[in-house]
Amino acid sequence: MKFLRIVLANLARHKRRTFLTTAGIALALFLFATLRTVVTTLQATAQFGSARRLVTTNATGIVFVLPLSYAERLRAVPGVTAVSWANWFGGKYGDGKRFFAQFAVDAQSYLAMYPEMTLPPEQREAFFREKTSVIVGRRLLDVYGWKLGQNITIQGTIFPGDWTFTIRGVYTPSNKVLNDDMLLFRHDYFDERIGRAGVAGWYVVEIDDPNNAGKIAKTIDDMFRNSSAATKTGTEQAFNASFATMWGNVSLLMGTIGMAVVFAILLVSTNAMMMSARERTRDIAVLKTIGFSDRVLFGLVMAEAAVISLTGSFVGLGAAKWLYRATNFNGAGFLPGFDVTVGTLLFGGGIALLLMLASGLVPAIQAARLPVVVALRRVE
């Protein structure tokens, strides 16, 4: 620690350069953490889902519906403990600029099946009681400044007309990956308004034992194979994963940009370290003359590089972690639960070490090997 003063003095020699280099590293790691978090968030979304929930959709595609009469038959399948259903609504609120998902759900069975959606019992009761009531996510309520008991009107695009609902409940997800800006309204009301078509977009099936998931899914699909609408059943996780894969190779894109960012900052900081070492050739020679060993000088230059890259990455990674948590960022609903993971922080730390080595090693070796006589002669 006795050399700390020398390291600090060296860093303070060009305060501006030290600051700019550190800030540059901080920015790069902030960006890196952000890009990587996009990828990890998509992965987390793809892995969300209870092992005890299966999703049954129309085999022809997600835009096709299933008859409501399937519910009874699904309930009768051995191993199935509960059945619920939902429909995608696809309406617009206000100018429609901000998108949020709306679903018509079978109220009682749906909330029972998703304990992750927590809301006070009296709001739950109100939702069950009133046919035109809705429950909305906490974020949605905040974004639009809605209040409990307020009436809101949604314009249907798939199901035309004005749909007016009363907000009777606000849910908060206990699992962050679950979106907190959805609107849920009652399927019986939906069915009534579209002329008792008796359709469900998809079924959620709760099973007693996750180990039987494959077997039960097959039983269900076999049962409906020759019905009016064949089904495709899979775990909820697979259902969610299929949405995540629709982004295509976004992970590759983010990864490539992240690499470019890290590499660019590597160049900048290496350059800065080399410049500062070059300017100090004389200082190093003097230190050597008064008895500092080669090893100590090597350490001094490396320590300087370490202070810059570690401080920079600490600030950058910390800022990313803090900012996204403080602003509750969710990528306009596309990236629910956006939070910098520990893995990303460790990865960032690894990059910081790499930066330290890459930018410090060459100048440090040069400093250690510097022949005193030559250096002193060259300077004066």
């Binding site: 700019l20 790069a28 617009k92 035309p160 894969t245």
Partner: protein, 387 residues
């Protein structure tokens, strides 16, 4: 008097490593800048080219996508009989009632990953109405048969999409009889078949949209008024090209915001690099600058000279960046267009304008990064520096 440019060029070459590192740093920023905007560009281009200003797309009123729409047979007859619809050589109206659905196709190599591909059931008139659609391989599907034609962009991106192969969806086997091109538009990401074949297997007796050719391209407003005002119809009429261009807005703006956000953060880092480099250059050349000032060069000229030097390094970086980004031109990628919820494949488009923008961006970084060091140079205290 101005300091000659050759002075800067030689000074830059005096410090090859430092110059190269700084330029490369700026180059990477420019490469990411060009690459991301090329992505947004390609996406927009694909949708902007979809559809023609001479065509009108009719959807059920209030529907903002073909998926959400429904048009009955009667309504189609009324639309087709409108005097605004052009007629083909055979005297039949150039109007195509279409079935539009999404079908899940597994991405090759990963059976759990699916993409929702558009399956469009068209009438025979569709091939005339969409004048940019051309069969590039094989022959058109024949009426009354389970035959399909596959857009060039997705042919090969999914299994069983080659001509002569059989693709299974909606519980039936469909023989692939052709591939078609459509001038790089989003149609190239679709599967086309006959509407009468698609109707029974998908949604029953309803079309999703009607597209027709205007008899008089200038009479769009009038055609729109007539159709929307018709008591027997509840429809919205839009120009086909405007409708598809509108579908690109959401994703395109996401991409653009992302591009600007990422590159501006990167740019700040690169500018810091340039600042460091230029300050070091000024510091190590203080005696030289003092000599220039003694010789009678004005401080203003010194300032300009160092700014030029910084811009020069940055321009070099810009060139490197443009060269790095150039190979991605034409690379095909795909994603889901969340507005229409369908898979769309498109190519990165690096345009000359984008390259120039990248170069300018680099020079701006250089000038911004070089300004304070250059000002320092112009204020070098002559006597002290020379001693």
């Amino acid at each position: 008097m101005k300091i000659p440019l050759i002075y800067n060029a030689r000074s830059v070459l005096q410090r090859p490593v430092s110059t190269a590192l700084t330029a490369l740093g700026i180059g990477l920023v420019v490469a990411v800048f060009i690459g991301m905007l090329a992505l947004a560009n390609g996406f927009r281009a694909a949708l902007a080219r979809t559809g023609s200003a001479r065509n009108v797309l009719v959807l059920r009123r209030g529907a903002d996508s073909e998926l959400a729409s429904g048009v009955g047979r009667n309504e189609f007859s009324i639309i087709a009989a409108s005097p605004h619809v052009a007629s083909g050589p055979d005297g039949r109206p150039l109007a195509s009632p279409e079935v539009y659905v999404l079908i899940p196709l597994a991405r090759p190599g990963d059976s759990t990953a699916v993409a929702n591909v558009v399956a469009r059931g068209v009438s025979a008139a569709a091939w005339e109405v969409r004048s940019n659609v051309k069969v590039s391989q094989g022959r058109r599907p024949e009426s009354g048969r389970s035959e399909i034609c596959i857009g060039e962009k997705i042919a090969g991106r999914f299994a069983n999409t080659g001509v002569g192969e059989t693709l299974r969806f909606a519980g039936r086997d469909w023989s692939v009889v052709c591939h078609f091109s459509a001038g790089g538009s989003a149609f190239e990401s679709e599967i086309w078949g006959e509407n009468e074949q698609f109707m029974p297997v998908f949604r029953g007796q309803v079309f999703q949209s009607v597209t027709f050719r205007l008899k008089d391209p200038a009479a769009f407003a009038e055609a729109k008024r007539t159709l929307e005002g018709d008591q027997r119809l509840t429809v919205d009429a839009r120009r086909e090209n405007e409708f598809y261009a509108g579908q690109s807005q959401l994703l395109e703006s996401i991409l653009q915001v992302l591009a600007l956000l990422i590159t501006s953060i990167m740019a700040v880092g690169a500018i810091f690099g340039a600042v460091n480099t230029m300050y070091a250059a000024v510091a190590s050349r203080a005696p030289e600058i003092a000599v220039l000032l003694t010789l009678g060069f004005r401080p203003r000229s010194v300032l300009a000279s160092f700014l030029v030097e910084s811009a020069l390094i940055a321009a070099l970086g810009g060139l490197i960046g443009a060269l790095l980004a150039l190979p991605i031109n034409g690379v095909v990628t795909s994603t889901t267009n969340w507005t229409s919820f369908s898979e769309i494949a498109f190519s990165f488009r690096v345009t000359p304008g984008l390259l120039v923008a990248g170069l300018l961006f680099a020079i701006v970084m250089g000038v911004v990064g070089g300004f304070f060091p250059a000002r320092r140079a112009s204020k070098v205290p002559v006597v002290e520096a020379i001693r």
